[in-house]
Amino acid sequence: MRKRKLRYKILITLGILLICLYSLLPIFWVLSTSFKQPDVIFSDPPQWIPKNPTFDNYKTVIQNPAMIQYFKNTVIISLSSTVLSVVIAVLAAYGFSRYKFRGRSVFLGMFLFSRILPRVSLILPFFIILRNIRLLNTHLGMIIVYIIIGLPITIWLAKGFFDKIPIEIEESAILDGCGPLTILLRIIVPISAPAIGAIAMYAFILAWNELLLALILTLDISTQTISIGLSYYKLEFGISWGNLMAGSVLMSIPAVIVFIFFQKNLVDGLTAGSVKE
């Protein structure tokens, strides 16, 4: 028994090590470079750990007044599109999962299209639509674009999850006189916490990191996002590596915080009890 426990422990430790190594190796370099003076960034052989670490890169990024505005825009756009995406997707997924109506599979398929069409086919029409409804260069415009881009995944995944929930629980609720919205909010959503957490993470990171649609559909600093701000560190000639890496680290921190927040949903997922209630 003890031997088995030891083997189990070793396996777990090995797993942890492998995952961390694979995920973090490039990140390690991002971090290391972000603390380097410009003259040692390309030293050969590479300085894996900076000998004279500096905060200069971080200072440059933080002291750039535009960065604050980029950050604000990104937060507004990402959080709003995350919340709205989840609400819209959960509603739609429930509709697709529990109702039979004409054109159901057609609609469901149509939601995939924003993912199938390549960017080349999307940007010009998106631009013209946003212009016509006067949402070009606005937060709202970017928010709805990110929602539609994310919908294929958010809806399909939520539906996949809902489909697996046994309908018996709902039937008893219906007999108790609950309406469909109540059932969705009181029963389905709590059970589906892991799925909702996952699609929220997806919706968030989509808006947080997206660059090319943002480049085209925003015009100035009033709506530009951090990913645009970072791409200013890509110069005509080469890359301002120290700043880019520092900016990237700073940009990842809020994303990690959001992940930690949604992760609670994943840990406290479905338990036997919640189904039987």
């Binding site: 777990i12 797993g15 942890i16 995952i19 961390c20 995920s23 490039p26 990140i27 370099w29 991002v30 390309f42 050969d44 590479p46 819209i88 509603l91 109702y99 039979k100 159901r104 398929g109 149509m110 995939l112 299209f113 924003s114 199938i116 069409l117 390549p118 960017r119 080349v120 086919s121 010009l124 029409p125 639509i129 709805i144 539609i148 919908l151 294929p152 995944i153 995944l157 999850f161 489909d163 697996k164 039937e171 309406g179 892991p194 799925a195 996952a198 997806y202 990171i205 660059l211 970072l230 880019l244 990237s248 940009m251 990842s252 990690v256 992940f259 992760q263 994943l266 479905l270 036997a272």
Partner: protein, 298 residues
């Protein structure tokens, strides 16, 4: 009868967005594909299937299709396998699991302008980090021109793409795993089922539909891969890493041939529609809808 409208009501917000933002692009893509589209003016004329013929006659089209096929199969397979293993691992209770989970997600938070260029730096032949590391730890004989040799370049780009894409799949699968009622496992344990049996008879059936969805979406995503390839190799060497996403982009904004780019998009759409219809046809009986089937009026 009433329930039908309720169904529509649930999907209404999403449908409004779909109609607002997707119908027009779909229509435009379709019209571009059958006309000789001009950016300015309304002088484009109907040309039938000429754009489809022209794009298929392109010298590199078959090569791109072949690359895309291999790319999609290989990326989706490895991303899925890796994501599944990590998700299963993270579904086991151990100390520090929450932290490991976040670490596994970190590649996802890195914007592609950073991850693409960092991977390029890693794989660079002479000043690349990978080769420097290999030399430092005494494995100098494994030093490679990672991005400069066609086959190797394909796998290097693939490696970077898997790294970038697996956290998404992992978290989706993990959410599916978390949704499996624990009493099922408990019952199986009591019956003395081995871990592999539990995986086969409980885990897989329970997340089967999540797996299907995730793989479907990832296939679509994989053929549109653009950023990471564009930065790492631009499609080279010799077209070895050129796949549809890059090909369509070049048709559009290097060749300014929006009609042919649209033709490829229409082909992709048609492909997906056929697959979906096939899937619907095959799984028609499974689709359960409580509010209808059980004749409960709300």
């Amino acid at each position: 009868m009433k329930t039908r409208y309720q169904g529509y009501l649930f999907i209404l917000p999403a449908t409004i967005l779909l109609v607002l933002l997707m119908v027009y692009p779909m229509w435009k893509t379709f019209t571009y594909s059958v006309t000789d589209f001009k950016l300015i003016g309304n002088s484009s004329t109907f040309v039938g299937l000429q754009n489809f013929k022209a794009v298929m006659a392109r010298y590199d089209f078959l090569n791109v299709l072949k690359n895309t096929l291999i790319w999609v199969v290989v990326t989706v397979f490895f991303q899925f396998a890796l994501a599944m293993i990590v998700a299963l691992f993270l579904n086991v209770k151990f100390r520090g699991r929450a932290v490991v989970q976040i670490i596994a997600l970190i590649p996802w938070t890195i914007p592609s302008v950073v991850s693409g260029n960092t991977w390029k730096w890693i794989f660079q032949t002479d000043f690349g980090l990978m080769n420097a590391l290999l030399r430092q730890i005494g494995l100098g004989e494994f030093v490679q021109p990672w991005l400069s040799q066609p086959k190797m370049a394909f796998f290097s780009v693939l490696f970077a793409a898997i790294w970038q894409g697996y956290p998404f799949l992992m978290i989706m699968l993990l959410s599916g795993l978390k949704g499996i009622p624990e009493d099922q496992y408990e019952a199986a344990m009591i019956d003395g089922a081995s871990p592999s049996q539990r995986f086969r008879y409980i885990t897989v059936p329970n997340i089967k539909n999540i797996i299907v969805i995730v793989i479907t979406l990832q296939i679509i995503y994989a053929w549109n891969t653009f950023d990471i390839i564009f930065v790492l190799t631009g499609g080279g060497p010799g077209g070895a890493t050129e796949i549809l996403g890059l090909f369509i982009y070049k048709l559009g904004f290097s060749a300014f041939n929006f009609s042919e780019a649209a033709a490829v998009s229409v082909l992709l759409l048609a492909f997906v529609i056929v697959i979906l219809m096939l899937r619907n046809f095959l799984t028609k009986k499974e689709t359960g809808t409580i509010y209808e089937k059980k004749k409960i009026t709300l």
